[in-house]
Symmetry: C2
Subunit: 203 residues, 2 copies
DNA sequence: TATACATTGTTGACAGTGGCTACTTATGCG
DNA sequence: CGCATAAGTAGCCACTGTCAACAATGTATA
């Protein structure tokens, strides 16, 4: 990372480098309790350099969390099938993508949901989080319009969907989805129940 | 807490006092990142005294997490209606109790699901966690036997139930269940979808 | 082109924390 | 009376976030 001994005095793009390094560290560790100094170390700059780009550590954390939500939304959008064969197909595909994002980036995912405890930045962060929520809303809306989903208040159905995938993601990250208790494919099984709860009975 | 200046040299029951104090602190703060020294301070003993009862901080955390799971299981057992009027009644009641436990003890709840990262103690901790899971399994088992719940692999249904309540609890703790997005009673709405997914279509 | 200014990085340090360990002191019990 | 237990005192040591002062570099302007 900080190999080149002849690096120029000015990094040139340290802000991005700090973020990138922090994301790397999040990928390696399970918790998001890294230190600013270590980020600086691995980015190959002095321990105070990041302060030229972030007022404090919380600002970096907030930025990382926002990036996380953005990436999650992108993952979901990318995974969303253009022409879903069925409601089950559509829900399952996108839910799998959601949980996969969490299990692939456990530390980042945890951070995303822990960082907005600093209330002030909270609004912006919530915006990003709720943008993810909108992806889910859109699916449900179209499903209802097509008659494939029960006519129920859509926010409630969305809450069920989000709650379920968020919960399954967290349980998976924390290693609590042990096959002896929860079966070999707990996510698919849980989604099955969800789909049966969302889908129109006629179907 | 440590008011009495004429307290005896030997506390007498410091182990319990440390746990009690730590639980108090968890009740007040949102995170579980308290320090052993502060626990000792508030318990009115020196900062090294707790080490006579716990080998290290992780041991205390693990103990607290186990207590948390035990209490959660007790809460659920206590809330479980003896003669449920309906499947919806039964599920809703117990799920509300679950989420209430989490929102009433956010720091403890978070700790419960973060502490077993130290793998070695993990097995014992998982035992307690899975005992909670068993409460859920029991409800589903009886529901299936009574024909009120669809015949599906019960672990999958349990995964759906646990995932949903865990997710809703976490979202609630993290303040992401904003009414504008998710409605005024997101939990009840989500449970509605769950019940419709679990319940026999005939009903 | 030369010079002043703003930007960005470095060095060093401060103040506080925090887990943990040795060693000492008090207490209760056999 | 003596020993095991439990508590206190002191301190190590590493680390962290943050700031202030200084240095190097880029940029705009006279």
């Amino acid at each position: 990372m900080q190999d080149a001994p002849n690096r120029p005095y000015h990094h040139g793009d340290l802000r991005r480098a700090v973020i990138e390094t922090a994301l790397d560290m999040l990928r390696e560790e399970k918790g998001w309790q890294f230190t600013l100094r270590e980020v600086a170390r691995r980015a190959g700059v002095s321990h105070a350099a990041p302060y030229k780009h972030f007022p404090d550590k919380a600002a970096l954390l907030a930025e990382l969390a926002m990036i996380g939500f953005d990436r999650l939304r992108e993952s979901l959008s990318a995974a969303k099938p253009k022409a879903p064969k069925s409601l089950r197909d559509e829900i399952t595909t996108i839910a799998r993508a959601y949980v996969a994002f969490g299990t692939d980036n456990p530390a980042l995912y945890r951070l995303m949901f822990s960082a907005e405890e600093g209330k002030s930045v909270g609004m912006h962060l919530n915006e990003r989080a709720l943008a993810v929520f909108d992806v889910l809303l859109e699916i449900l809306r179209r499903g209802q319009a097509a008659g494939r989903i029960r006519k129920r208040p859509i926010e409630g159905q969305a809450a069920a969907g989000w709650g379920l995938v968020h919960g399954m993601t967290m349980l998976a990250i924390d290693g609590l989805l042990v096959p002896e208790k929860v079966g070999s494919a707990p996510l698919d099984a849980a989604l099955s129940t969800l789909v049966e709860g969302l889908g129109s009975p006629a179907t």
